[in-house]
Subunit: 161 residues, 2 copies
């Protein structure tokens, strides 16, 4: 599980698409203009999204993209995986060349963390995003932790998230 600006672009674009597909196929040019993402980059992203069966394309005038599934059956995790594919698979393929036991422990821990993150992102559907049904209770948890162990530097960085 990797989370980069690429994934963010893809999610942003998919939200735009999802909230406009009622009027027929949505063009990449439109998404590019509204979301300020370069058309070329969108073309690449949607190529991947199409190959992962998240969107379907209609060519020619009046064409564009549609969601390939129901809006409630596409999650943020789907989009990010489609766009960020390779995902080095924790460079020690599950068992070998982990020299001592300690290294593998670290890997297990990270893999577990990965699963948790995936589970969360997979619980957020496009539908929930478009219709603003994403619970905003996170702020409270964050603030609680910040207050518990704030240092001059952390406070500054939190603002930049």
């Amino acid at each position: 599980m990797r989370l980069t600006t690429k994934g963010r672009f893809a999610v942003t674009a998919m939200i735009d698409l999802a909230s406009r597909q009622a009027d027929g196929p949505v063009t990449l040019a439109g998404i590019a203009e509204r979301q300020k993402i370069s058309l070329s980059y969108l073309e690449q992203l949607f190529g991947k999204l199409r190959r992962h069966d998240l969107v379907s394309s209609v060519r020619g005038p009046g064409g564009g993209y549609r969601l390939a599934r129901d809006i409630a059956a596409i999650t943020v995790a789907d989009i990010i995986i489609a766009v960020d594919e390779p995902l080095d698979a924790t460079q020690c393929g599950g068992k070998e060349n982990c020299h001592d036991a300690h290294r593998c422990m670290t890997h297990d821990l990270w893999a577990n963390l990965n699963k948790r993150m995936y589970a969360y992102l997979d619980s957020v559907t496009l539908d929930a995003l478009v219709n603003r049904r994403v619970q905003p209770d996170a702020d409270m948890a964050v603030l609680r932790n910040i207050r518990r162990r704030a240092t001059p530097s952390t406070v500054r960085e939190i603002a930049a998230i």
Copy 2:
């Protein structure tokens, strides 16, 4: 909030450090050897970790790095933020140059998602990682979702997470 291999390396190194600091300062050379990360890269990462007050250094023979705070007061989010700094701040600085209302909505949604992720990563402390107290209940949720909307392609990719 960005999640790349760089952050993973930093977390791995911090776990190694945390689980060995009982015997005094831990050298980067040791971490490099055990975790198979290049020494130069570790130096760069720990420079940032030190400037963010997550670790403190002791120079000279017998020196190395220590955690600057209690092991339970350092979270995965702390480490990732320290190491992945710039974080473009969602390129429309919170208010301006969002041309139509729709764009800002998308940004809000993403920002909210970011907060949720941060909240989760901030809830996982180094202590919890080292002492294996990270709940593995995620698998169930993942499997539930996969079963709900599996396609030939997704199934293949899930295996690669």
